[in-house]
Every structure is written in structure tokens, then in C-alpha cells.
Amino acid sequence: MLIKLSGGTVYDPAAGIAGQQQDIYIGNGRIINPPADAKPDKEYDLKGKVVMSGAIDMHTHIGGGKGNIARTLLPEDHRQDPVASTHICRSGCGHAMPSTFVTGYRYAEMGYTAGFEPALLPINARQAHMEMGDIPILDKGGYVMLGSDDYLLRMLTAKKDQKAINDYVAWTIQSAKAIGIKVVNPGGINAFKFNQRKLDLDEQNSHYGVSPREILQVLATAVKEIGVSHPLHVHGCNLGVPGNMQTTLDTIQGIGGLPMHLTHIQFHSYGTEGDFKFSSGAAQIAEAVNKNKNITIDVGQILFGQTVTASGDSMRQHANHKHASPNKWVTMDIECDAGCGVVPFKYKDQNFVNALQWAIGLETFLLVDDPWRIFLTTDHPNGAPFTCYPHLIRLLMDKSFRNDMLATIHPEAQKMTTLASIDREYSLQEIAIMTRAGAAKLIGLKDRGGLSAGNWADITVYTDNPNREQMFEKPDYVFKDGELVVVDGKVVATKWGTTHTVKPDFDPSVEKGLKEYFDRYLTMKLGNFKISDEEITEDGRGSITVHPLKG
């Protein structure tokens, strides 16, 4: 079937196109060059419409055990947002931590066609893939977590060379079917098991004598040397701690120019000034990001309302449990591999700290110059549910709306932010960079995130509307791999996306040491640990896409 999208105004930063009127042709699921004898089977008149590729959420907690703990913990939240089945869609629940099917529908209904789970624990990767296997429409993938696993820390204590670490990292990516490497509170989750309650960048794990700085260094090096496109994905030390801005600046300096992605940086940009000893570090962080071209960030914007925080950072989540609202929370130590913490949160605009967190996130967005190195996230569901994205886009694109909102938050927080003095408004092209072309480039996705011929036809069509929230919450059309899945912001057909992975090489002898370790210390055989391709594809719905390595 040949589909023609006629006369839309196209924003395709991957091809350097910013708001030009263009026709797009779709054949066999991909975007194709205009055929010589173009007789489309179906034509859509898109004159006056805005056309972008499908949006990509590069950091969203959509698969894995902590998300399911969050779901189980909050039946009262689900009851506020029941979702009935239709002749096309499965039933489920929405709001803070939606069910898998509803996750797929609601992302697609906002024009998203891919989401990446940033915290695949190696031992829990199987579950993450199974959950994501029940998310319709979206493509998905994950970054596998290392850095608090006892195997790596033992290697560091034993002074194993970088090559040995590279082999282990590459083996882990392949075993977990991941597309990148994440580190969460480097070494801190492990230190919590030895009853350490905090771990600064240069503080040593009491058992291993290894510091977060060393862990970041070897992992960032490994990611680069094994050729994985996505830079080391870092949830830094001291999440949420006033003054952690300095830790973040030191982390940027300490990585010595290696590619590094700092995630939900809003939670790591706090100073200690003012009467409440809590202030914005966004300006300093943005300056450091602007200066250091090896650094990319996503924001982890908070928005006001009920949500739930689900993180691998058991150490910091335990420290924050007194803020749980409602007052119930879970932490887990997990399999000499990692951990997790789930704490429900209600961000309030009349709470000084929450209000300033909101402003810090927005300051960060507006002070970082290069939209190719900053990404639009709420760290779903940690800062807010992903369904808030259209609202967030309006805050970025509409200064007067932003200032109206600013005028309603805690008055002391208003005094502590420079937000009112920032004139910048994001353009449609910049939004397209952050949520499409930039994200695809950052993750290393081939043939996604662009609209030139050869790309998969993941396409979103919006009606231009000065109210950007209304515009982005209800696309006219969404195509996934060339199939029309959403019309007027409602799912009209469903399908299954692919799982994006990379397969970096490793020396097979890496399994010798691993097998001995598994047999002696772990509770599963090495052969039973590795995830096979069939586990993702055998039900006939899933598929695996392997992306090229760098260089």
C-alpha cells in the first residue's frame, strides 16, 4: 500500500528541515522517495498541519519489577482512572503508573512511537522485557544497570584491566537484550547493603574500597570502547540532597571528556542558599553542560500532583521515605545485582521545595543552549506521569503561560528562581529535536526519528494551535511503521513494536569467570540467566532490532 501525506509543514531536524511544506510517501512501512508513477492508494491532505516523526521517550519507567511494585502499592490511584476495554483496546488503568496496555495507548495518543526503560536490572531484565512485550504500538528498549553489582565491584577490587571490564559490560548488554548501560548511585545501592547510608563521589564502599568516581570512569570507558552509541547513562550520587549541584559539577569534571548522559538532572541541581537552605543550581549546571560537549542530559521535570517514585536507588529512596505520600513505601535489596525503592509522592505547588524543584527543571530547559544535548522527560513516573508532556511542552514554548503558572507557586520559591527573567521560548523545531531527532541520535537508533526516505514511517501529524498543550495532547494522525494507529488523539488500530538492542562483541572466555561466580554465589545457573531471542519473539508479537555499533 502506497500512502501519500500531502502538503504538511514538516519539522525534520534529522534532515535539517524546519517547517517546510513537503509531501511524504510511505510504502511497506517505510518512508520512500516519491515514486515515478505516484498513484497512492491513500492520500491525506495535510495542508496547514504540522508533521514530525513519532516522538521517542528516551527515559521512562515502563518495564520492570519496581514499576509493578508501584502498581501493586497504589490501587487507590488506579481507581481514579479506570480504562474500559473497547473493540480495539484492552482495559486497564491509567494515571501515575498505568497498566502496560494503557501505557502503549496513551503514549501513542500523544504522538509517541517509542519508549526506553532506563533501569533494566540484569536479573530482572526478563521481567522488563515481558512487561514491555505487553505494551502495544510502541517500540521499546532498555539500558541495563551496572555499578552496584558485586561482580563488577569484585573486578575493581581485584584491579582487573579495562579489557576484562569491557567484556563483562558487553556480555551483560547481550545477556539482558539492552541498548545501553545505566548506572544508578554508582556503588551506593551496594553500599546500602553494607549499611552505608550515603556515598559521595569520592567516598569508598566500605567493603570494596571503590568510589563512585572510579565506577563511572571504568563504565564510561567501557561503553565507549565496546562501541555502544548511547553514552553511559548516569543517575548520579546524592539524588535529592541539597547541595548536590557540586557533586554533579564534580561528576562532569571527573569523567574527563568521555561521553556521559546525566539523567533527571533536576534532582541533582540543588544548592544550599536561602532561608530554607535549598536553592537552584540550574544556572551553574547549565553552564557546565553548555561548556562540556561530551555531556547530554534529560531533565526529569516535576509537575504538581500525585505520582509515585520508582527508582533503583534504594539508598536514597530509603532516606526519602519520610516524604512518602500516602505514607507507604517499599525498598528492596536485589540478588547481589542492584536494588529498588518505591515511594509515592505528591508534589505540591504550595510546598517551597516542590515549587522550587518545578522552577529548577524549567530553568534547566531554558538555560541549556543546545537542544541536541537535552531531552524532555519527567523521569516518568518519578517527576510526573508521562501524560503531562503536552503541558510541559506548553511551559517551554509559551512564556506568558509559564509566568502565569509561576505566579501561583509558593511565594518564597518565586523569589528563589530566575525563571521570570528568562525570555526563551522553545520553537517547534527545538521540540522536534529534543523529542525525536536528538533522542534517536542519542540512543543510536538507525532509521528512526527522521522523515527522510529510508526511515521507518513513524509519523505524527498535529494541528497547529497557539495553545501548545492542546496541540500536543491530540495529534490528528499517528502512523507506526506506516500503519495508521491514532486518529484525533484516539487509538484506531493497534500493533506491536520492536525491541531495540545492540550486540557489542566480547571475548567468550568472559563466561569462565562468570560461570564460576554464578555457581558459587548466585541462585541461578549462568545458562538460565541469559535471555534468548526466542523469549522476546516466541509469542509471535515481539521482534528484535539490532542497531549498529559505533566506529
Binding site: S91, I123, Q127, N195, I334, E335, Y521, T523, E534
Partner: protein, 421 residues
């Protein structure tokens, strides 16, 4: 004849994956690392290979068509058992969504003790590899651990650990029930410390223990036959431990409002962690797909596996959606029983139309309207099942070619029929 090694078990819940199994046609023999729970369930012979409709052998197509017919006119079908693998649960939930059914896992009455505590206040838990490598003190509450999982001690305590020099020094304390055997006795001969009381007295005993952990004054000298001084000794040991673990089987706490006991011990674990001590909970479960049912229902609906779809969207109620209650009250009008693991676990007897998707070899007091024998995950087909600690899903292997369809095959076929008709 072939031998398959490193076979994972979906039966015991503790994720043993070191069994060796000899396969001779369709008969299996556990040749290494079997136990009283796993061996009989692996070795159980296939007897039924053909579905039955009204007690007469029928083709799979005919049985599926009949099942769909029975479901089409219903107002409130109940899908009980829910003992299958991940793909089986996916099919089960799709069918429930389609026909507005209640989904109820057969172990939920026990599991409810945990869910109510979790959903009210949460917990701090750990997993088996952490127990194996870190635990220096294990407190077992109200549970005969070795009867629950015969190989628990061998695999996770009396074995090499990363962070303990001499694992035979680990301390084991039983509170409530005494152990039925000697599995908890250390290789160095030290017996577990046992403080016995009646199971129904555990709420009182746990309350006193938590109070002592919180340094609250206790006037009584004994509680339920246990000296308060002995409980104080446990509190002191928990505080002195490097990595204490408190374990219980929710189903073993078989008394009214046992969720409060789970909450009491979970809050005690939190109290310890707030006193700069590491301690974790370890709920025992994972039998016959119960964790699997709750996990898959969790991500599909947001709720554990006691959820109804009768209003078009999932509604969770840990009391009202109980299979037995719904049968007794007359609210249910059809029963679907799904049990791919255990041939002895048959549906409750009812006059309602009954469809059984079950393991080959079930014997019924009352022949169901439709019986479709299915393969067992981890024997007849590959699949996934959750271990007791809920984090680890094990990859189940196919061991033989029995020709039996999987639970997912059958439930998906019934769902398709319901959709078309």
C-alpha cells in the same frame, strides 16, 4: 533416552534450577537434586491426552467451541486457579477482559495477608541471593520452612557465601511453629533456636517483639507462653546482626486478620533500619504460579490477581472477588478452572457450568462440562514463572514432546471464539 541438566522448577517457588531429569519418551525421572515437592510433580505421568466434552472425548476444536459457547451467555464467569506460566496468564487475562470475568488466584487468601500489608504501609524486602551471601541471622515466623521448600537451607544457608567466612555460624530462630525436620540444623551441629507458640498467638508475640525492638517498656513477663526475656534476646540479636532476614509464608498465618501480623513484622523491619541496622523481610510464596499470576495481572490491570472485569474495566477487591464466595453466593454463573501445574488441585465442586483447563491426570468428583488437558510449563513447553522473591522470573524449559497444547494456546483459542461469535 536423554538427560537434561540445569532444569528449573516452577513448583517449589525457590527457583531451584539445578535438577537433572532423564527423559524417556514422555516419562520423566528426576536423577539429581529432586525434593519432596518437585520430584512427584515432574514425574507425574500423562494420562489424559484428549479433551472431553460432557465426559466424552472430543477434538480440541470441539472443546474450545463448547467452552466459548458456555462463556458467551454468561453474566459473571469466574476464572479460578490461575496456576500457569506468564503466557498462560496473558491468555487468561485476555479472555477475562473479553467476557467480563473475575480472575482469582487460588492462593490468594494466603497472599492477601501480604497484599493488605503492602498496600497499607509497604515493606523492606530482600531476595534469595542476598540471603545466601549476606544473611547472618534468619528469623522464621509461623512457618515450617523446610516443609514449604525442602531445599531452602541447603541452597541458601548452609552453603558458600561472599560475605560470611563461616556460613555454619549463621543463626536460625523459629518463632511460632517448630521445624518439622532437621534441615535448619547447621552443619556444625547447632540446632535452630525455637520459641514455640500457637499460630493464633503470633499477633501478640510479634507485637511484643516489635515493641522491644522500639525499646518500649513491656510489663508482662511472658506472652503466649514465651518469656519476654527470650523475645528481648531476639530483638538484641536482630540489632546485632549485619544482615538480618525475617521470613514468613503468608499462607501459613492461617487465622483471621493475619495481615496485621505481616504488617507488624514488616514495620519492625523498617524500625530496625531506622535504627541504623540492616534487616529485610523475605515473604515465602511462588507455588504453582501464584507470583506469576499476581505479576502478570499486576502489569496488565494495575491490580493483583483477584480482579474482576465485569464492568468493562478491572476492579480489584481482595475479599469480594473470592471464587468460593462468588460460587456460594450464587453471583457467579460459570466456572473456569486453570491449573497447569498440579493434577491434584481440582476445582471446587459446583452445579454451575464448569470448564477445566488443567494438567493431565486430574480426577474429578463431578465431571466438568469441558476438560482440556494442557501441557505443564517447564515440562511440555518453554515458558516463564516467578520465584517467591518476585524479582526473578525463571526461564522454564521444554523437556519432552507430549503434543499437549499450552494454557496460552487453549485460552487464546477460546478468546478468539468468544470474539468472533
Amino acid at each position: 533416552m536423554t538427560e537434561i541438566t540445569e532444569v528449573p522448577s516452577p513448583f517449589c517457588g525457590i527457583g531451584t534450577d539445578d535438577l537433572s531429569i532423564q527423559v524417556d519418551g514422555v516419562s520423566l525421572k528426576v536423577t539429581a537434586n529432586g525434593c519432596a515437592v518437585n520430584t512427584p510433580l515432574f514425574e507425574h505421568a500423562i494420562t489424559d491426552t484428549r479433551p472431553r466434552v460432557d465426559g466424552k472425548e472430543a477434538s480440541l476444536e470441539a472443546a474450545v467451541a463448547k467452552a466459548a459457547d458456555l462463556l458467551k451467555g454468561t453474566k459473571l464467569p469466574v476464572i479460578g486457579g490461575c496456576a500457569t506460566d506468564v503466557n498462560g496468564m496473558r491468555g487468561l487475562l485476555a479472555l477475562a477482559d473479553r467476557c467480563g470475568a473475575v480472575v482469582d488466584n487460588m492462593n490468594f487468601v494466603g497472599a492477601r495477608n501480604n497484599f493488605l500489608a503492602l498496600q497499607d504501609s509497604g515493606w523492606m524486602n530482600t531476595t534469595l541471593a542476598e540471603v545466601k551471601n549476606r544473611c547472618d541471622l534468619l528469623l522464621v515466623v509461623g512457618t515450617d520452612l523446610e516443609a514449604f521448600a525442602p531445599r531452602f537451607f541447603e541452597r541458601y544457608l548452609w552453603t558458600e557465601a561472599m560475605f560470611l567466612e563461616d556460613t555454619s555460624q549463621r543463626q536460625v530462630i523459629y518463632l511460632g511453629k517448630a521445624p518439622s525436620g532437621v534441615a535448619s540444623t547447621s552443619p556444625n551441629g547447632t540446632k535452630a533456636h525455637v520459641l514455640e507458640c500457637a499460630t493464633v498467638d503470633l499477633p501478640e508475640v510479634m507485637a511484643v517483639l516489635r515493641a522491644l525492638v522500639k525499646k518500649q517498656p513491656i510489663r508482662a513477663e511472658s506472652v503466649a507462653g514465651i518469656a519476654v526475656a527470650d523475645l528481648q534476646a531476639i530483638a538484641d540479636q536482630l540489632k546485632a546482626a549485619k544482615y538480618g532476614v525475617v521470613t514468613w509464608a503468608a499462607g501459613a498465618l492461617a487465622y483471621s486478620q493475619a495481615e496485621l501480623t505481616v504488617q507488624m513484622l514488616s514495620e519492625m523491619v523498617k524500625d530496625l533500619n531506622d535504627q541504623n541496622v540492616r534487616c529485610s523481610g523475605l515473604p515465602l510464596a511462588g507455588k504453582e504460579g501464584d507470583q506469576t499470576a499476581n505479576q502478570v495481572c499486576g502489569w496488565t490491570t494495575g491490580y493483583p490477581a483477584r480482579t474482576r472485569f465485569s464492568r468493562g474495566y478491572p476492579e480489584y477487591d481482595p475479599f469480594l472477588n473470592d471464587t468460593r464466595e462468588l460460587l456460594a453466593s450464587g453471583e457467579a454463573d460459570t466456572l473456569v478452572w486453570v491449573q497447569a501445574f498440579n493434577p491434584v488441585s481440582v476445582p471446587p465442586v459446583t452445579d454451575l457450568p464448569t470448564i477445566v483447563v488443567g494438567r493431565s491426570g486430574m480426577t474429578f468428583t463431578k465431571e466438568p462440562d469441558v476438560f482440556i488437558p494442557v501441557g505443564t510449563p517447564g515440562i511440555d513447553h518453554a515458558g516463564h514463572a516467578y520465584r517467591m522473591d518476585n524479582v526473578v522470573a525463571i526461564r522454564l524449559k521444554k523437556l519432552r514432546d507430549s503434543g499437549l497444547p499450552s494454557t496460552a494456546d487453549v485460552l487464546n483459542a477460546i478468546e478468539r471464539q468468544c470474539r468472533l461469535g
